[in-house]
Every structure is written in C-alpha cells, then in structure tokens.
Symmetry: C2
Subunit: 235 residues, 2 copies
DNA sequence: TAGTGGTCTAGACCACCTC
DNA sequence: AGGTGGTCTAGACCACTAG
C-alpha cells in the first residue's frame, strides 16, 4: 500500500469485519489511533473520513466515531462504477456473450447530444446479449464514436467487458458514468431470447466519461431484475 | 458561512457557473488560490476536494485542476437523499396527496428484517398517492415502527413530506437511505388511479437511516417514469 | 470541566507532468 | 529542471458532548 491513510482505513475496516468493534460501538479516539499507528492526527482523520464514505462508520462531534449498523448492506451498491461483466461476476456467475453484432452507422440526435459529437461523426454499435451461467440476463447496446477508437475497432474488439477492452487496447479509462434509470415500455425493441420468459426488466441509459469529463461511450442496458438486484446509496 | 473551505468552494463554484473558468480550462494552482483567499494550502485543498465531489472539477497530479465538462448534468442525481416532495418541487410542480390512509398492523418478515424490529413490534402504514399539479405521479407506502413515533402518530401526521414531519415533530433526521431499484411486476398491487393510463413505472424500495445507521422507516414508491426522470452518478 | 471531533496553519517531502 | 498536486506532520484553537 502506498498511502498510509488508505492502509490504516483498510486495517480498521478489517477489524470491524472481524467484530473487534461491534455495531454501534465507539472506536478509539483520533488521538489514541494516531498513537497506535504512529501517525499524525490528520492522517488518522483521512482514514476515518474514508471509512465514513464507505458507510462503515459515522462521526459525532464532541463524542466519537461509532461503527455503523447495517454497514454491510452498503457494500453492493451501484454508486461505484462497474461494468456488467463485474456485476455478473460479483454475483458468482460466469459471464458470456450471445448474438454479438458490430456495425457502423450515423448517430441519432440523442447520441450526438450525449456524446458531444459533430454532425459528420460516425459511431460503432455493439449489440449483444450478455449471459450469466449461459442464461441471457442483459440485452446491451453500446454506442462508441469512431473518432475514439479508429476504423479498425471491429477487428480489435473482443467479447467481454467493453470497459476492459478500451483500457487494455486503447489506454482509455472510464472514470465516471451518469446513468438514467428507466422503466421498459412497449416501444423498446428487445431480442426474443430476453423477452421470451417475460421477465421483469430495467433499462439503464449510461454515458461513460473519462477522468476529464469527456464522454467516451453510451450504453443502453436492459437488465433482468429477477437475476440481478440493484442498490443505490443516497446520502 | 461557518467554514472557510465550504465558503471558498461555493465562490469557486459560482465563478465556474459564471463562465469565469471555461469547461476544460485549468483553475489557478493551489498555491495561487491560497494566496488569493489568504488561507493555507490545506484549506484550499478541502475546497477543491469538495468541488471534485460535486463533479464540477477534476484534478491531475503534477498538472492542475480542470473544469469538468458536463458538470451541469451531475446536479440532478438521486445520489443525494431527497424526499418525494422535494423531487416534485424540483421539477417545478406542485405536490399534493390523494387517498391518504394510515393504519396500524404487524410487520411482515421483510419489514422486520429491514427495520431491525422485534417480533412484538407494530408498524404504521401510510398509504397514499402523491400528485404533481393534481396528476397522480407516485403511489407511496411508508412503513414506520410505532416504537419510533409513539401511539399518537396518526393525529400528529400531516400530508406532505414524511421526512419533514419526522424532523419537525420528532426531531428525527434522515441522514442516509439505501434504495433498491425494481421493475414493476404483475404481483405489485397498484391503485386504479395510477394504473389507469398504464404509464411506465419504476419501483423503489428504500430504507431510511438516521446518522447512526439505525433504520427509521421503510418506503415502497411506484414512480411514474413518464413524469419524473431519475439519474445516478457512478464514480 | 474535560475530552472529543472540526477546522486551520505553515511547513516539509514526494510523485508526477510539462517543458 | 521547475512547477504541480498528493501525502504527512505537529501544533493550535474552536464547537460540541458528556459527566
């Protein structure tokens, strides 16, 4: 670990997991912790702030830091960005692809707006069904400007996480995403395989940004809610 | 303003809004800003960290802070906790209630688990349709343990935000919520008024917590997605 | 009143970016 | 090589909590 405060945060988190500090119980004071770890109080405060952001602990001025009850529920939220691949793997399932299609076309008005495109730009569309343990769970459509990956993208693309592919082959990292959450309506065109059993579906429209806030790609995901659950932490 | 760093964060945010720093442009360095505001560099760093958390700015080590493009899109997300009342008012609509019912019953298994109840606890159920400009937009069911508000709650309750009512009459503040996003299925019982026009609906299941992480109440909300849009910021 | 967390300072050293 | 942000320190004072 490079950062002392992140290291200390991890240690304290582990100790909470182990039950060394019980739910609702008070942690040692900042000054005690800074003695224990041999660091300054400010460093300890950074560790504790990180624990607060993780939802493990809460602080009360003049009193102390207390282990948050239900902190465990806060771990599997979609507040942190993750690809569908990661989502499926986190559920201990094996991820796969079906009916993968890649083609090039002109962007529509919404895509131009959300991806900051010029009128002469063209986009790649990656259209596929993602499976978990061979069962279709997500119908996913990614819209990726050619200006970002170049004309030879279809040869370079390989099944699995698009985020990972962009990072490994192009050095492009997704730092943030803005997701719109939608109900599925009759207008939404869905592949037969996903529609067949008439499962409950959620629609996510996501714009993925790099660290500078420039849009990278757009995705439409229709997720089977009977197979995957979604939580949001609101603070 | 009490805190210097929050004050400076607000000033810088306003200056970005005013176009004093353009999108993608670099901000003055930390050391320049600390001179300008007459504070230490650490204080400036806190202001900048807050601006990053707000999605207005991003930092690059060794280079500087840059105004984030699309920062404006990040403002209306559900990452921050807000009541339905606030949600409707933010859309410049007038909030109202319809078919309000309050009754007392035993909690079911899910409620016992999510609200940390004992087997002998009872809960109040507040069942109502929330309207925006007189049109029904949300069917909402709140589950509130009697142990939190006492037996006379039905007399004390008044239409509008339950969060506000709890804060004003009981001094109970919601600090955080964990929300599950669900698709609506045939099993969900919905009032005729909301179902009538067959609008696209989203289901939110939320547990509301106080600052100590103790659950306060549970809510089931069926939101008309043709009237209200929902965004989540993922980092 | 004593102890706690919240804010702020002035300085130091490092890793990284840019030229 | 010089400038930038990232980390860390040792100390100070304040606001709040609790006995």
């Amino acid at each position: 670990m490079v950062n002392r405060y992140a290291e200390i945060c991890a240690i304290l988190g582990k100790e909470i997991d182990q039950g060394l500090f019980l739910e609702g119980e008070r942690l040692p004071t900042e000054r005690e912790l800074s003695d224990r770890f041999g660091v300054s109080r400010e460093t300890i405060r950074r560790s504790l702030k990180q624990l607060i952001e993780l939802g493990r602990v809460h602080g009360i001025q003049g009193s102390g830091y207390y282990v948050r009850r239900h902190g465990r529920h806060m771990k599997s939220t979609i507040n942190r960005f993750s690809s569908i691949t990661e989502l499926i793997r986190n559920a201990n399932l094996t991820e796969g692809d079906l009916e993968v299609q890649i083609f090039k076309r002109k962007p529509d008005a919404q895509e131009i707006q959300l991806l900051d495109l010029g009128s002469q730009d063209v986009v790649f569309v990656i259209d596929r069904i993602r499976t978990a343990d061979r069962e279709p769970v997500v119908y996913s459509k990614n819209i990726l400007p050619q200006s970002i990956v170049g004309v030879d993208f279809p040869e370079k693309f390989e099944p699995g996480s698009l985020t990972k592919c962009l990072s490994q082959k192009y050095g492009i990292t997704v730092a943030e995403a803005l997701m719109e959450l939608c109900a599925v309506t009759d207008e939404d065109m869905l592949p037969y395989r996903l529609k067949a059993s008439n499962p409950p579906l959620l629609k996510f429209i996501q714009v993925h940004y790099d660290a500078k806030g420039a849009p990278i790609f757009l995705s439409y995901d229709f997720m089977r809610n009977d197979k995957i659950r979604f939580f949001v932490r609101r603070t």
